[in-house]
Structures are given as C-alpha cells and as structure tokens.
C-alpha cells in the first residue's frame, strides 16, 4: 500500500485545494493597484466587438468599456445627458438637425484626437458597415463640422429619437472608432480603438468566453476610471451565473425570473425593470395568406382568447406584467386607458369568431424561436388557449437564431412569437414592425392606418408628438393589429460592492463604481 508520507501529502494538497482562502489569490495579484476588478457575467458572447460590424444589443455591452457613447442615457426611459459630447441640442423646430459639441482634448486609445472630423468619418463608415443599426447612420443626410469640436447632423427625415440613438451603446452610432483604425482596417475583433475608459486586453481575452478590459491611458477623464480591470465573462447557465455572484466570483450578472427569487433570498441585489414585450406579432394583417386575418373581429377574438394575467404569472413567475399594448408604461405612445383593452373573455372571443364567419375555426402558422425558453413556453400556452376558440396554431420552430430569422424572413407565416424591447416606446416599433423592410414585417405590408401616421409623428416634438404617438397606439390596439401579451422584465443581479448598476436594457460598466 501507499506510504503514510504519500497519503499525508495528498491530504495536505486536498486541504489546500479545499481551503476557501486558496481562491482569494486569484484575480488579486500581489502589488495590484488599489482599484478593484469588476467582473460581469452575460449569457451570450458578442457576435462582434467591432461597432462597424455589429453593434447594439449584447454586442453593445461588450463594446461599452472601450467605446463610450457621445451621449448618456440616464436609466430606462430616462433623460439624456452629456458623455463624450459636452453639450447637444436640436437646431430648428422640425427634429431634423442635431448638434453636438465634444469635450475638448478627447483622444482615442491610439493617441489620435477625437474631433468633429473623426465623428464624421466614423458616422459615414458606420452607415456603410454591416451593423444591424447601420440604417440609423443611413438616416443621416450630411454631417457638417463648423469647428473642431462641433458636428451638426442633418437627417433625411425628422426623427425625434435620433439623440437617443447616439447614447451609450444603444445602436453603436455614438461609439466612435478611431479614423486611424478605420483607414488601416484594424482588426477590431481582436483589439479596440475607441475613446472609452478601457481598452480590450487581447492577451487576457478568450473569444466567446472571457473579455478583459484594462484602463485606456488616453481617456479624457481619468478620475472616472473606477476599476483596474473590467472582465466580462460568458456564463450560459443562469444558475451558474447566480452561484458565481453568490460566491463573489462576479459582481454583476444577468438574471432570469426563475433565479430572481433565489437571488433575493440570499441577499444578492436584484435590479428588475420592464424590458421587452412578449407578443404574437401578426405579420399578415392584410390577410394575403389567411384572409380571415384581414377581419378585425378575428384579430380581436385572438386578443380576447388569451388570459394574459395567468400567462404573465406562469411564464415570468410574477416578475412580469400583462399588457395589451406595445409601449411600456411611461414610454412614448403609452396610454394608461388602453390597459386591459382585451380582458380574458372566451365567450366574447367565440362570438366574434362566429360574427366573422369562422365559427368552425381556422388554422394559423407562426414561427417561434425555440431556443428562447420563455417564448417556447408561451407558444405552448397560446396553442392551448387559441384552440378553445377553434384556432389551430401550427408552430414552426427555429432552434438557433439564424434558423429562426431565416424562417421568419421567408414571409410564409401569418405570425411570429417574439420578444422585442421597445426602449423608446412606440417609435421603436416602426423600424422593427411597420417599415416595409422591418424584420417583423416579412411580408412588407404597409398598414395604411399606422405607417403614414408614424412617419408624420416622427417630425413632431413635445406634447403634440406624444399625443400623435398615443393616437397611433390607440389605432394599433383598437384594430388588434398585434397580440401583446406580457412585459418581460430585464433582470440584473449585483453584489453590494457595486454602485450604479443602471436601470436600462443595456448594462454599461462605464458608469458603475465600487460602493463606498
């Protein structure tokens, strides 16, 4: 048998390995700077670290440390403030000319100046790039640079939401990349060249898994750099993400409804706020595939046949809320009076189906992203609910994102179950659902009661603008053009050592700091 000495050594090793103290050395090397390390966990990796290739959404979170936005949005639906731009304003009254004035002395990580010409160069490259938000750049007709710090964007058409599109990592248009990197076609997937507080550390980054950012020595506001390192890890399993935050491995992590309760019970901070709207979006409102859908009574019957309260409780485990409209409360176009427009009423739904001449029911085909578990569950519930009024829902699942979008884009289906964030309220629905080329409009329908009114509303600001969007929302709801079901929360977990976890859809480490 083994000698006692060998066994003793094994025991010592095991004890050392088991010791909680052993882990503390990781990430805190001797002589490290006084600033702490911020480690965040997200569920999916970015598809690109290059704002010109892919920006916004989850990409935006990974790009945020290196590419600070021109403007800053204070929380979900909050007010706009300065960021790389020191000031900003609309010029004139028709929301088509927007001016920004940059902070003096801004530099990119490569040391070259970030001036008005750099903004112009980037914006033009962005519009010509492959970012899904390139269309935002294409809305700009021209950019004037009256001096070294000032840019004036002239838009092709009025767009009240344009300033928001320059904020943080919303679309990428505000995340200025160095003209030098653009000209030299630098590999911005493996490196970064922005004017944010951090830069990508290639040596400590494993694509798809761990992204490490270190302070940018050329950042204009060094006092605002709060961390020695920002690490963004990809942790696909929500339970592991919660365990990582509980054990102190990460300080900020994404959350899910089913882990939120546990997080609260163990004292982890939970930021939960209205995120996206889960809905059955009807893509055949004009009835070209299924004539029944042209009939408003059929669309209303679908809306009445759905028990939104029960669904919201079951799918989001009480963290979400039922809704009959697409704008979330407080956002542009939201109308409190539209809440509960379609209370669950099976008898009324059946009556409407009969009134429309479909007492014996009909069949609808829809697409579902089955890789999103809550939407796959929603599909099952809707199939059961609609069967009660004679509607057979035939679902075609996309198991991966590309597969789902390919199905959706085919235009062969009458509806799609999806979850869209509409951060700016109803104006956000236009490029996603109602523009002829919108992804949620695969049949390129032009809804006569919606699109012209929306295009007109884009040019109206202030109270009048808000009223115009509310009128459009009223039309969408009263004509039952969509079937909104629930507002799904966006949930983030955070350790008490972190201050400033933003209440917004995208989580930006640039504005977080250690708690005092």
């Amino acid at each position: 048998m083994r000698s006692p000495r060998v066994i003793g050594a094994m025991v010592v090793c095991l004890c050392a390995a088991l010791s909680p103290l052993a882990g503390l050395s990781a990430g805190a090397p001797a002589g490290a700077a006084a600033k702490p390390v911020l480690t965040m966990a997200l569920a999916t990796p970015p598809t690109s670290l290059d704002p010109l290739v892919g920006s916004g959404g989850v990409n935006g979170v990974f790009q945020a440390p290196a590419y600070q936005g021109l403007l800053h949005l204070e929380g979900n639906g909050g007010s706009l403030g300065p960021s790389l731009a020191a000031s900003f304003k609309w010029i004139g009254s028709n929301n088509s000319k927007f001016q920004i004035v940059l902070h003096p002395g801004l530099k990119f990580a490569d040391g070259t100046p970030l001036n008005s010409a750099a903004v112009k160069t980037f914006a033009e490259a962005f519009a010509a790039g492959t970012s899904p938000f390139a269309y935002v750049g294409q809305e700009v007709q021209s950019i004037a640079t009256p001096n070294d710090l000032t840019d004036v964007f002239t838009l092709k058409a009025p767009d009240l939401s344009f300033p928001t599109l320059l904020a943080d990592d919303e679309t990428g248009l505000g995340n200025i990349v160095s003209p030098q990197a653009i000209t030299e076609k630098a590999d911005l997937q493996a490196s970064s060249d922005g004017a944010g507080p951090y830069e990508l550390s290639q040596a400590n980054t494993v694509q798809g898994s761990t992204y490490t950012f270190t302070p940018n020595p050329n950042y204009f506001d060094k006092g605002a750099v709060k961390y020695a390192e920002v690490i963004i890890r990809v942790i696909a399993d929500p339970n592991t993400a919660l365990a990582a935050i509980e054990s102190g491995q990460v300080q900020v992590a994404y959350g899910t409804p089913d882990t939120a309760r546990q997080a609260r019970s163990v004292g982890v901070g939970v930021a939960s706020f209205p995120g996206s709207v889960d809905a059955l979006f009807i893509t055949d409102d004009l009835g070209q595939l299924t004539p029944a859908l042209k009939n408003v009574d059929v669309r209303k019957a679908i809306n009445y046949a759905i028990d939104r309260k029960a669904i919201a409780k079951a799918i989001t485990l009480g963290t979400g809320s039922p809704t009959d409209q697409m704008p979330i409360p407080g956002s542009l176009g939201y109308l409190a009076s539209l809440a509960n427009s379609y209370p669950y009423n099976l008898a009324k739904a059946k009556r409407l189906m009969a009134q429309a001449g479909y007492a014996h029911g009909l069949t609808l085909t829809i697409t579902v992203p089955s890789f999103m578990s809550q939407l796959a569950n929603l599909d099952q519930v809707l199939t059961t609910e609609l069967a009660k009024i004679g509607i057979t829902l035939q679902s075609y699942s996309g198991a991966t994102f590309p597969a789902f979008i390919a199905l959706e884009n085919s235009g062969k289906y009458e509806g799609v179950i999806f979850s869209f964030p509409f951060p700016k309220g109803l104006p956000s629905t236009v490029p996603l659902l109602y523009s002829p080329n919108a992804v949620g409009n695969p049949r390129h329908e032009i809804l006569p009661d919606v699109l012209p009114a929306a295009q007109a509303a884009e040019g109206i600001g202030g109270t009048k603008g808000a009223t115009a969007w509310q009128a459009i929302n009223k039309t969408i709801v009263s004509e039952a053009l969509e079937v909104p079901i629930e507002i799904e929360p966006t949930i983030y977990f955070y350790a008490k050592s972190v201050h400033g976890v933003p209440q917004s859809l995208t989580i930006d480490p640039d504005f977080m700091s250690p708690s005092k």
Partner: protein, 313 residues
C-alpha cells in the same frame, strides 16, 4: 506495432475527410447562416443577402467545401465567420480546458472504477452491495443534476470551490485543480459506476479461473494474486470499457463545460453551432475526431502491451 500505428493513421485521413464533409453539409443545410447571426434581429433581407455574399455563403456547397478543404490541407482551417478569429487559434485556446477536464475525468474514472470494482470482487458481501448501489447511483444520476447539487453544496454552502470558470495550470496549478474538481466529479461519477461494475465482473471471472486457484494453493500473497496477476488478466476488458467511456466523457464535457462555464471545445461547439459558424464547427468536429482516433490508437497499443497476441488477430 509500427505497422498498426501507420495503418490507423492512414485510416484516419479519409475519416477526417468524411467527418468534415458531413459536418459541413449538415450545418449548411440548417436554415439561416452566419450572416443572420452577425446582423441580428433587426436586419433587413437586403443586409442579410449582402453580408452572405461577402462571406461567400451564397456559393454552391461543393465550391465552399472545396475552398475550405484546399486551405485545410495546408494547415489553415479558416477563420470564424462571426469573430474573424483564426479557427486554429480558437481551438488552441480552448483545447487545454477540455483536455484537462476530460483527461482528469478519465483518470478519476479509471482509478476510482477499477479500485471499487476490485474491492467489490475481492471482498464481496456488504461492501460489494454498497459499491453496487453507488455504481447504480452513478449511472442513474445525470451529470448536470449532479453538477447543480455539487455547486449548491460545495460552492454556495461550503464555499470551497469557485462556481465557474477555468484557471490555466500555467497561471496557478492550485487554482487549476480547484477550478476542475467539481466539473471532474460531475463528469466522471457515472463513468466510475460503469467501470466499477465491469471491473468487478471481469475480476470475478478471473479470480474463479484455475491459475488463480493454483497460485493460492502455492501460497502466493493475496495482494500479488489480485493486483499483479488477476487484474492484468482482467485489464483488457476494463480497457475496452475505458475506451468507450473516454468518448462518453468527450460528449459529456459539452454539457459540463456549459454548466461550469469552462471555455472548452464543448462550449465552443455549442456556440459555433448556434451561430452557424461553419469553419468553427468543422474545426471542433475535426479536433474531436482526432481525439477519438488518438484515444483508440492508445487503447490498441495498451491492448498489445497487455497481450501481444492481439497484434496477430
């Protein structure tokens, strides 16, 4: 032996060709492509078509595969369609964690399974029943359930191990082993049960043979009979189980890597498949194939070392 190795290596060349082609076709046939992934949910059809053209995804399948194969034969597995990173670099970064996980799990499975199996066969009685029960539990409990239980016990209650992630051995050997203990236990638990049962059956068979009886009658020490002679005779059967177990560990690693957030080939495969990143998917598949071919080759060599007659069969 050299002929056998050469033959195995020769066979693996067409095998790699077939595997890469089948993978290429299967991934290509799924709806959508990497352009959809890059452009996201708000992309228009025109944007998708344009990027697909840029990526060369609109070309005929045979042309796309031929181009890939031409480069692959020169050692260039292409670049990820999503990140632009060279596939060989991505594989190089993520092979280490997977090898660490799988090889340590194989070690635990082999040592644990053989020890339990031998003890069970030699001592019998209550110990055998206990080991049988443990083996059953090992086989019955899915690795992901065990992983979740381990995390809640040893991470959240005892705070003994990190919840997730991987530390390279070059950075800190101690942290390397700490980051792998729970994943290895979760991954190897079922295998230990299988190997223990097979070892026990093989040992019982061998211990009942005439030569063992003769050795006992001649006064050979029990330890020598069991560990030197009987175990060697039972080893071929145990090795064949370990060969199959190794392949099981490779596939099981995909799930375990995901749960423990280990940046290995398994999580790379899942991610690449979900994003329709064809060059990366093929790269991972080819690497897995090479690992299986390598493991089988080692197994054959081990068979021959244990029983030289096998080479003539």
């Amino acid at each position: 032996m050299i002929r056998l190795i050469a033959r195995r290596l020769l066979v693996s060349v067409p095998l790699l060709g077939v595997v890469s082609f089948v993978t290429f076709v299967l991934v290509s046939l799924t709806p959508g492509n990497a352009a959809y992934t890059v452009l996201g949910a708000s992309a228009t059809k025109a944007q998708i078509a344009s990027l697909s053209r840029q990526m060369g995804l609109n070309k005929p399948l045979v042309v796309q595969y031929g181009t890939w194969l031409g480069h692959a034969l020169q050692g260039d597995l292409g670049r990820s369609l999503i990140t632009g990173q060279p596939v060989t670099q991505a594989l190089g970064q993520q092979l280490g964690p997977t090898l660490s996980l799988v090889l340590l799990s194989l070690l635990v499975t082999a040592v644990g399974g053989v020890l339990l199996g031998v003890w069970s066969a030699v001592r019998g009685g209550r110990l055998a029943r206990v080991i049988d029960s443990v083996s059953f539990v090992g086989i019955a409990v899915p690795s992901f359930i065990l992983a979740i239980i381990l995390i809640s016990l040893f991470v959240l209650k005892v705070h003994a191990f990190p919840a997730s992630g991987y530390v390279p051995i070059s950075q800190s050997p101690l942290e390397w082993i700490r980051s792998l203990i729970l994943p290895v236990v979760a991954l190897s638990f079922g295998g230990v049960g299988i190997v223990a049962k097979q070892t026990r059956a093989a040992m019982e068979d061998v211990l009942a043979r005439e030569f063992v009886v003769v050795m006992r009658a001649n006064g050979y020490p029990r330890r020598s009979i069991v560990y030197r002679h009987a175990l060697k005779a039972a080893a071929v059967r145990v090795l064949s189980v370990l060969g199959v177990t190794f392949v099981g560990l490779l596939t099981g690693a995909v799930l375990i890597e995901s749960i423990f957030s280990i940046p290995g080939l398994g999580s790379l495969a899942v991610q690449a498949s979900a994003q329709s990143d064809i060059p990366l998917v093929i790269g991972v598949t080819v690497t897995f194939t090479l690992l299986v071919v390598g493991a089988n080759l080692l197994l054959d060599i081990a068979y021959m070392a244990l029983n030289p007659q096998i080479i003539h069969r």
